[in-house]
């Protein structure tokens, strides 16, 4: 095994060193973004500081004022009085004055436009001017009355730092690990794509896979190379910065108010680089394994980069510290531990706990990567998306459609509902979901009628839908009652539902029952279930589409109940071959909910009647389902023909 891994490592390294791009990227990341980048940043900060000082601190800002203008206002060299008065429009058109001041009793009233940057600065300066003049006048009066001007009236204070060295370490600890992570991410992504994805594209994967070598050794060898290159970037970057500071090339003290690269800090950063490389390369390998081509990898890497950089950003917030609650956040914990160590604040216990968590998480991520790599055979190019669709298989597309439709719905739906709860609900359900349900299948070229189960229902199908609606509602209430002690609907969601109750009943029923009934069914039991069934068995398809339906509702208490409802509606659509009974059942269920709520019947007040209702309706539906099942097998896509 070890020999095989070493052979793979040697092979991959030989390939990497043969590529000028690898070397170029390495140098860009390790050196260009290291010493060179920081020198540039240092110069840039110096320049902006100078210019900011020039414009913000020294140049006076013009304001107009009503007479009598107090002398302290005129004498302030931060402010310049210009003739007034001015109207707000003058101010907005960039007139002479950025604000207007007048004295009303002991109030200085500043009238100024909000939408002008300099006017905002003016307000800040005026606040300081007022405060200064107050102090000056109190002081003059106190001295004049013969009293001494001393503490506590003239209290002064200053900060005394116990750990002058740690300050630089802490400041550097807030920015250096973040920069380091970004560089490591770039290298890991590049290397992982090169050793996994590119092989698939170039056809060399095939050559490699018929070699008699343990596949685990093959993957481990490749993972080691990715990790090694990534860690090397990190180590070179850290050591390069340390050397630059040591040689006096880089003025790190200017950036961080002190020497950063002490032997201890350099060691800490090196260790952090190794840990971060582990985390980052494991994740990059997953992305590379999932991507069929270099282009797909570059698209996939966008959410990947965000997902990894968000915890880095979080950990860079000054007030966030390593502790029992932040210890668990992957990526954040390494950044925080490095910062904490550099600030001299990490206790041995917390350090050990963090290390343990990081190692466990990395092992888990590597395990996950390994699992995905073994499940999604990284070297099996398989059929590409178009060829797969050509065989009538749209299973993968269902997941993409779900992600796109839901993200759009959550985002725009929330925005629309913020504008108006009821109309927003109607608007978001009525536009976004049907659009997704129709455009999704059309874009991938799935047969629309079969996919969406668009078939006219028989009278029996309709009755079945109505019975199912009653059952689902009763059972749903029961489940909710049973789960009450364990899982509760968050207040915000409950409040949102209560808010709706103020609207007139017909509008409420339309927004809360008909729209969800029709539009949600069209997407979940129509497009998603239809696309899933083109690849998976009926049971898997109904289960997956129901879980999707559950997740649309976003809160844990409702996910379970709605997913269960999804199974019922899904079974109905599969059984009858038509989307309509599902729509009826769904609409009826929701209508009962809002109808009872607006009639003031509390669901938990129904007591024993609830049980009876649920049981009766279940028996009735069971009978109907068994009837409906006779002589009508579910329509399967394969039988419906390929597009």
């Amino acid at each position: 095994m070890l020999r095989a891994v070493l052979a793979v490592v040697r092979h991959e390294l030989r390939l990497q060193t043969r590529q000028a791009q690898s070397l170029l990227l390495f140098l860009t990341l390790a050196v260009g973004a290291g010493p060179l980048g920081l020198v540039a940043m240092d110069r840039w900060m110096a320049v902006t500081e100078q210019s900011a000082e020039r414009s913000a601190k020294t140049a006076p800002i013009q304001l107009s004022a009503d007479p009598p203008i107090p002398s302290w206002l005129v004498e302030d060299d931060n402010l310049e009085i210009v003739p007034g008065p001015v109207t707000s429009d003058d101010l907005l058109e960039g007139g002479e004055s950025y604000g207007h001041a007048r004295i009303e009793g002991d109030e200085v009233v500043l009238t100024r436009p909000f939408a002008v940057t300099r006017s905002n600065m003016l307000e800040g300066r005026l606040v300081r001017a007022v405060r200064r003049s107050n102090v000056d006048r109190v002081k003059a009066a106190v001295v004049a009355s013969g009293e001494p001007w001393e503490p506590p009236l003239a209290l002064r204070w200053r900060r005394e730092t116990r750990d002058e060295d740690a300050r630089a370490g802490e400041m550097a600890g807030r920015s250096l690990p973040a920069m380091l992570f970004f560089l490591l991410l770039s290298m890991a992504m590049y290397a992982a794509v090169d050793v996994i994805t590119k092989e698939k594209e170039k056809g060399t994967a095939e050559t490699l896979l018929v070699v008699a070598i343990d596949r685990r050794a093959l993957l481990l060898g490749k993972a080691l190379v990715v990790f090694g290159l990534t860690a090397l970037v990190g180590a070179t970057w850290v050591l390069g910065l340390a050397a630059s500071e040591g040689l006096g090339v880089l003025r790190v003290p200017n950036l961080f108010e002190g020497a950063v690269f002490t032997a201890a800090n350099t060691g800490v950063l090196l260790m952090g680089a190794v840990l971060a490389s582990l985390q980052v390369s494991a994740a990059a390998l997953v992305v590379a394994a999932l991507a069929p081509s270099f282009r797909a990898a570059s698209i996939l890497s966008m959410p990947f980069v965000i997902a990894l950089m968000a915890p880095v950003g979080f950990a860079s917030v000054p007030t966030v510290e390593l502790g029992p609650s932040t210890l668990w956040l992957p990526v954040s914990n390494v950044v925080l531990a490095v910062r904490s160590l550099m600030a001299g604040e990490l206790t041995a216990g917390l350090g050990a706990a963090t290390l343990g968590v990081v190692v466990a998480q990395t092992a888990a991520t590597l395990g996950l990567a390994g699992w995905i790599l073994s499940e999604v055979d990284p070297f099996d190019k398989g059929l590409d998306a178009e060829a797969r669709r050509g065989t009538g298989d749209f299973g993968h597309d269902a997941f993409v459609l779900f992600a796109v439709a839901m993200l759009g719905f959550w985002f725009f739906g929330t925005v629309m509902q913020k504008a108006d709860p009821v109309l927003g609900l109607i608007g978001s359900l009525g536009t976004l979901l049907p659009l997704a349900a129709l455009l999704g299948p059309v874009y991938v070229g799935a047969p629309l009628r079969e996919t969406l189960s668009l078939r006219a229902p028989s009278g029996r199908d309709l009755a079945l839908g109505a019975a199912m609606g009653l059952t689902v509602h009763g059972v749903g209430l029961l489940v909710a009652a049973v789960m009450q002690p364990f899982l509760q609907t968050p207040d915000a969601v409950a409040q949102g539902i209560l808010d709706l109750a103020d609207t007139p009943l017909p509008l409420l029923l339309f927004a809360g029952a008909v729209m969800p009934g029709v539009c949600e069914e069209l997407l979940f039991r129509g497009a998603l279930l239809g696309l899933l069934r083109s690849r998976y068995s009926i049971v898997v398809s109904v289960a997956v589409s129901s879980v999707m339906f559950g997740f649309m509702h976003l809160d844990l208490a409702r996910i379970v109940v709605t997913a269960a409802m999804g199974v019922a509606f899904g079974a109905l659509v599969v059984r009858t071959g038509s989307i309509v009974p599902g729509m009826i059942a769904h609409t009826l269920n929701n209508a009962l909910f809002f109808g009872l709520a607006s009639a003031g019947v509390a669901s938990d007040g129904l007591g024993i009647g609830l049980v009876v209702w649920a049981l009766c309706a279940t028996i009735a539906t069971g009978g109907l389902v068994s009837l409906a099942g006779r002589g009508r097998p579910g329509i399967r896509m394969e039988e419906g023909g390929r597009p």
Binding site: L25, S88, N134, W157, G344, V415
Partner: protein, 385 residues
């Protein structure tokens, strides 16, 4: 003209048939709300965690114990040894000249927060005493009251305009990359390039159609960016500026200038990228070039950030890429000057004409499409043959 339209149609269909293109355009719609949500939730969490904290401070000045011992600070006994060992968050004493010293550990966020709390309490105490003295001695103390001349909607828009203006050029660069690679580069290592170049297609029309489609997609993507960003910020604005909560959303009509401003920017960015990518043979190489060039391309964006802040936006109107930010800022906050917009769009057009026209005269337009004839050093660099 018909040929040109056919070509436009062909190129557009080619790009849209690739789900990656759609994903690329749609990505920001999902990314911004998520990032914003994650960021805000994280900050709220941290803030709440800090609000619940009590800072342990040893006060070695008897007169100040009463002043300082109130939440979030609790006065406890302790020495500098305790502070160094992390058992105290700060230690307050008074030096020989009567000045208060706040001993703290710079490396600790807790200790820094405690220091700030102590300073706040001391300032409040001093202000109290001075106010009383002023009352006793009959000295009038002024307070400042600030009144905004513009209504809250306009304030909200200013806030949104500032952020969107800052980010607009960056979204253009990001949005233009993929479509430009897709339309100009990807074909170079596929067999279809030969088919195309051996057909009697007018090169000017071909490059024109590709430019328009690439810039068009970049424009759509950047509009999606700006829209998603705007909605996200509007939705979450009150979290950042509390008094803007529930402020009605009123767009100034000048916001209509944002699409043309972005369109001009998209054309210029696409032209620059097309020229840069003329040395790339594969998607991969184009991406490497972009990684290197991104810093330069994003420079205007960084400069114009300061432009928005300092109200010298009008000076930047004649400069392509630089003015995207300031024109969008002015348009959204309702202070756009018509001549600035016209000058901006005209210079965008001029820049594209000079860039592509110059390229045509010096190298010929073929090279933009085929990438053939790149300098030998690029071959050596990529190591591919």
């Amino acid at each position: 003209m018909t040929v040109f339209l056919h070509m436009l149609h062909l190129e557009l269909r080619r790009a849209l048939r690739d789900a990656n293109t759609l994903l690329y355009i749609g990505f920001p719609v999902f990314a911004y709300p998520f990032m914003f949500w994650a960021g805000i939730e994280g900050l709220i969490y941290v803030q709440q965690a800090h609000e619940r904290e009590t800072w342990l401070v040893a006060v070695e000045a008897p007169a100040l114990v009463e002043v300082l011992d109130s939440p979030p600070v609790r006065a406890v006994p302790g020495t500098l040894v305790d502070l160094d060992a992390g058992r105290l968050d700060a230690l307050v004493d008074v030096d020989a000249e009567g000045a208060v010293r706040i001993h703290h550990r710079a490396g600790s966020a807790r200790s820094r927060a405690a220091t700030e709390a102590v300073e706040e309490a001391l300032a409040e105490h001093r202000t109290d005493l001075r106010t009383k003295a002023a009352e006793r001695l009959g000295v009038p103390l002024y307070t400042l009251r600030s009144e905004a001349t513009d209504d809250p909607s306009r304030q909200l828009m200013w806030f949104l305009a500032l952020l969107i203006g800052m980010l607009a050029p960056a979204t253009l660069v990001i949005s233009a990359t993929y479509p430009t690679i897709e339309l100009f580069v990807v074909e170079r290592d596929k067999g279809t390039l030969e088919t195309l170049m051996t057909s009697a297609v007018d090169r000017v029309k071909l490059v024109g159609a590709r430019m328009i489609v690439a810039a068009g997609l970049a424009w759509v993507a950047s509009m999606a960016n700006v829209l998603a960003l705007g909605l996200t910020l509007w939705h979450g604005a009150y979290l950042v500026v509390e008094r803007l909560q529930d402020v009605p959303f009123v767009l100034s009509p000048s916001f209509l200038a944002v699409p043309p401003v972005l369109a001009g920017g998209a054309l210029v960015t696409t032209a620059v990228l097309a020229v840069l990518f003329s040395v790339a043979r594969t998607f991969r190489e184009a991406q490497m070039i972009f990684s290197a060039a991104a810093f330069v391309l994003l420079a205007p964006s960084m400069v114009s950030v300061f432009a928005c802040m300092e109200d010298f936006s009008r000076d930047l109107a004649p400069w392509p890429l630089f003015h995207t930010s300031t024109l969008a800022f002015d348009a959204l906050r309702g202070q756009l000057v018509a001549t600035d917009l016209l000058v901006g769009l005209a210079t965008d057009g001029l820049a594209v004409a000079v860039l592509l026209g110059g390229w045509h005269v010096v190298f010929g337009l073929d090279r933009l499409v085929t990438g053939i004839g790149r300098p030998a050093w690029v071959d050596r660099l990529t190591g591919e043959t």
